[in-house]
Amino acid sequence: MTPMVDMAFLLVTFFLLATTFKTGEVVWVQIPRSVAGLNLPMTDLLTISVNKDGQAYLSLTSPATRRAWLQKHAQVNQIQYTEEEYRAFEAMSGFGVPTAQLRQLLQMPSEERKRFKQAGIPMKAGNKNELADWIILARVVIPRLRIAIKADATTPYKKVEDVIKTLTDINVLRFTLITQPKGLDDDARY
């Protein structure tokens, strides 16, 4: 019995230390594969997910910074959010709606929100680029923010180019394209 207890607790400790909690994905993307690649930090990371249709979604790693992010957003756009709405925003791992729809999304019960089809953060809303605005605010909240693009392998390049242009236009010149590992001799493509 004692060795079994030892083993069980050893495994518990291993899972505690070596893994991170799963977060719900706001949008599913098939990540392209690459041989080279560096590990990204698990904190202070802003991920721009781009699905097959080129719709962009944002997720920021830690809940506390998400609240500060929304506070800045509320301040700049002169919107008042309630405490419940802040809590809902903290709990969401990511989002992809225009600013005008954000309150509606925050007021939904979490089950309904999961089923709700988010249409992406607009990059061309009149003369405003909402995606750029959100990224600028995130950089204000976290000065040493790392930015990564998590695009689908089959997203047309012109859609990804729009996102890259959004970044370079606001002087984000160094960022990461998220990939998953593959072998050096593996030539398979999607």
């Binding site: 207890v5 495994l11 893994t19 991170t20 909690f21 080279a36 390049y157 990461t176 990939t179």
Partner: protein, 180 residues
């Protein structure tokens, strides 16, 4: 409740000549094991080993667009290799200046692109590779190109856009080029 660690049998102990030994303290560990495995199952299901990884890219400062163009133009034609990614995983390349006769087709992967790059870097000092993905190709094409740059350790490379003249030359060489 079943105890695996049974109390020592006094008769057996006497036979072994250890009659005076005190019986050990028996702890019931079943509930602790239950809890440990419950925690184990919980952590196995609710956590992930996945760590995001990716390719780092850096773009030139946009204010320097003019100097960047000059820089590219200052590259000797003999030092430049241009890779043009087309839709449907088609890849074309030419060295130096674009001419209908010099634009050739290439395959992604070890046999095509990697072999070409390694040969090009070896025989060309101060090699520069220009990546020109067509707007209609997919994101994976860009990732594959950047990945090959890292694998072959290309000292200088840049992401650019294929010019209309280049596309015209490709069309005249009989390569189908969709309008962006």
């Amino acid at each position: 409740m079943l105890d695996i660690d049974d109390l020592p049998n006094p008769n057996r102990l006497r036979r072994l000549g250890r009659a005076k030994e005190k019986p050990g303290v028996v702890t019931d560990m079943n509930s602790m094991v239950d809890m440990a495995f419950l925690l184990l199952t919980f952590f196995m299901l609710s956590t992930t080993m996945y760590r995001p990884r990716g390719l780092e890219i850096a773009f030139p400062v946009p204010d320097d667009t003019e100097t960047r163009v000059k820089e590219v133009q200052a590259v000797k034609a003999s030092q430049a290799l241009t890779l043009i990614a087309m839709p449907e995983s088609k890849l074309y390349y030419y060295r130096g200046l674009p001419e209908a006769s010099s634009i050739k087709s290439l395959s992604y992967g070890k046999a095509g692109l990697r072999t070409l790059l390694q040969k090009f870097i070896q025989e060309t000092p101060k090699a520069v590779v220009l990546l020109k993905p067509h707007p209609d190709c997919v994101f994976e094409d860009l990732v594959t190109l950047l990945d090959e740059m890292n694998i072959s350790r290309v000292p200088r490379y840049a992401i650019d856009k294929a010019s209309e003249e280049e596309l015209q030359i490709m069309r005249s060489a009989g390569i189908p080029v969709p309008n962006p």
